[in-house]
Symmetry: none
Subunit: 228 residues, 4 copies
DNA sequence: AATGAATGAGGGTTCATTCAT
DNA sequence: TATGAATGAACCCTCATTCAT
């Protein structure tokens, strides 16, 4: 079905090499020579495919982000409830980063630094993902699943910030070993923080009694024994 | 009382200029000439005070981080309870970053990228702060304030990640306007997520009645009206 | 027959310019800009061909020394006797230096100073030449042409030192005009100093006389008049 | 008798440090800071005593050469014959270099390179020494001790070149260990090369015979057996 | 389409030297 | 007199980028 033209293949090779090298050394420290050597082409050839070093940098997240986002978008409609969706989105983020550590590193450490990246189409895709997450949070609020006073932007910042922090930490210090195992604790924690209280209103108990009893003389409230 | 030697003043000027310019353009894009010009000295003079461009970069966080941390450390003993302390620490972080946006930017976008920064004394101070936060979380767990199954490292990552994300967002997109106003919502949210349940044991109500009454025939539980 | 690639030609041009300028001003005082300008290329181009200024310096003697040495090696087998060989070697040295005064100057004044030069392949060639000379002296000793108590290392030092001194003198003071005319006097002088005495055995003269003569009563030895 | 003013002492200290450092690293590689630090003074102080780095360099040989030369000049009148004098001069050179290896190194490797050194008063002194040597050789020629066809300039070049070569060799390669032990072999060798032949004129043998003998009919010259 | 070759532009860094104190 | 402090002036080297083949 797909017919990978040699042209496209070459392009792919260059992008892969660029990802590896940019991720390892950063944008400034990496050189075109290095990348072209890794890709098995000449310097000049890189410029046949990309107008400049920066354009090559920006070309990297385009595909991978796109793919990841679209996949998530496909799954979402099958899930019921804001909580499930939110958990799925987080899972998707973390899975993507876990499976593409170089890409994660590039995004976290090198692309976020770059002001020009914000004007990029690739960034548009990133932003789409962030919007999806925001929409999901808002949906939870509107549906009463999340507290009405939840600040959806803050919640999103918490989620994204945590993921980013974990990725960065993992890259620079090797910790945590397995980010995926942290998805559930993290989501649980945040959900606990924003979940609407389970109608824990005050409750009146009306006793309908027959007979000639008086009102109770004393009411003793006795805590049951805690059984840990 | 303090007699700021002209030498120290000049050093300060250079650091300030460097902070402004590194924060704006990043380490690689900034040039020594630019910085020295901004500081009103010659290129060579910069090298009288700092051995290299990188050493100049690392000299920046040294003071400002130190000051901020030490201040927090002073306040902490006066606070009772893990929650208060945690809130104070977050407040301290955000205040520091809010008051020194350039510094915040430098740390978030440019220093974290730099592997050599991890070997720096300045980074040691940063790490101290992170340890302080972790200790506070652990204290909450030990004292029963926070749930026993709380992962303190995860909680710290959530807190730090959120702060970092907010700073970065503010720097790159101007949002949120006022980070300080987000401290309480954020801390509240996280605390809700980790707070130990408030002894929500089962409760038995014993009615001591006199007379010949029978047991109540029906018990109707009526929610009170919610008054938002 | 030979097809000098433009690449090789350019390289040659750069080396020639470098030789001229290094010889004139010394390694430190010479600048790459100067050399590249003289060679009609850009600074960066010099670095396409040579990794560093020092490597460029070391590339200079490589060829010229090699050529000179190999030529001498070819001639040597045709010569009989240590004296002829030694004279040929000296002749070769002096010819090389006389024909390449800049090269001579570079070697004498600037390369010998450089400790790194000693690790160079070019220096290996120089050392080869010195070994060749030493071997020739030893051969003369072994064959009885030179005195048995000759110190071959000292003789070599005398020869090389003299050549070097003459070159340096010529470069700095213009004297002597023609080094080649000094080769024979110099070699003669040294040979006189190391030549084994020419079988100066005692000689008996037997006079066969007829008649009744007695043995001679007196023998008078009369020096002939000296005729300068 | 001598009253070393503190000023002169300081000057001396600077010169000594400069000698050590120039000799070790060469003129260009050495820095004023290094020298001043070694001398225990400030950079600026060096400039109180010497107008420039180069002037400091040239100040070094002034004294030491002067002293060495003057000493030789004192001894010379007591020696009889060109050979003794020549030997004494060589001895003096080598002793000076052997006792002051740093100075030797400086002269051989770094001062000879410097064109400006030729204009220096210090060089005048060096030249004086060379003239003294030349005069001595000429004296030997005039007195009939050395061959009439000796080229005194060539002989001087041989002597100086050899000494220089030995010094350089010793500095760069550690060989020869002891230069002084080479003085006699070296001088012997050169003297053998230039010594006037010991009146090995043609000799006539007059036989005064009595009796009636005829002239000898045959004369047979018979070499004696060699006794190795 | 691919590249070998060339380079313009620029930046970090060093140091000899000066001068006010 | 001695020096702490400051700097002007260079230079080596790198690399993204271009272009003729």
């Amino acid at each position: 079905m797909t017919k990978p033209s040699p042209k496209a293949l070459r392009r792919e090779r260059i992008i892969e090499s660029a990802l590896a090298i940019f991720a390892e050394k950063g944008f400034q420290e990496a050189t075109i020579s290095e990348i072209s050597r890794a890709a098995g082409v000449s310097d000049a050839t890189v410029y046949e495919y990309f107008k400049s070093k920066e354009e090559l940098l920006f070309a990297i997240p385009e595909e991978i982000t796109e793919i990841s986002i679209r996949e998530t978008e496909k799954v979402l409609p099958y899930l019921r409830g804001a909580e499930s969706k939110l958990r799925a989105i987080v899972q998707s983020y973390v899975t993507t980063y876990e499976n593409n550590p170089e890409y994660a590193n590039l995004i976290m450490l090198h692309l976020k630094t770059n002001r020009n990246f914000l004007k990029t189409r690739a960034f548009e895709v990133v932003r789409d993902a962030a919007r999806m997450l925001l929409a999901c949070i808002k949906e939870g609020i509107d549906s009463g699943t999340f507290r009405r006073d939840t600040d959806p932007y803050l919640v999103r910042s918490i989620i994204l910030g945590t993921i980013e922090h974990l990725c960065t930490r993992k890259h620079l210090q090797g910790q945590p070993e397995n980010m995926l195992s942290l998805v559930d604790p993290m989501v649980d924690l945040i959900l606990s923080g924003i979940r609407a209280p389970q109608e824990q209103q005050n409750i009146s108990i009306h006793l309908h009694m027959t007979g000639t009893a008086k009102a109770p003389e004393t009411i003793t409230i006795v805590p049951e024994e805690r059984k840990p």
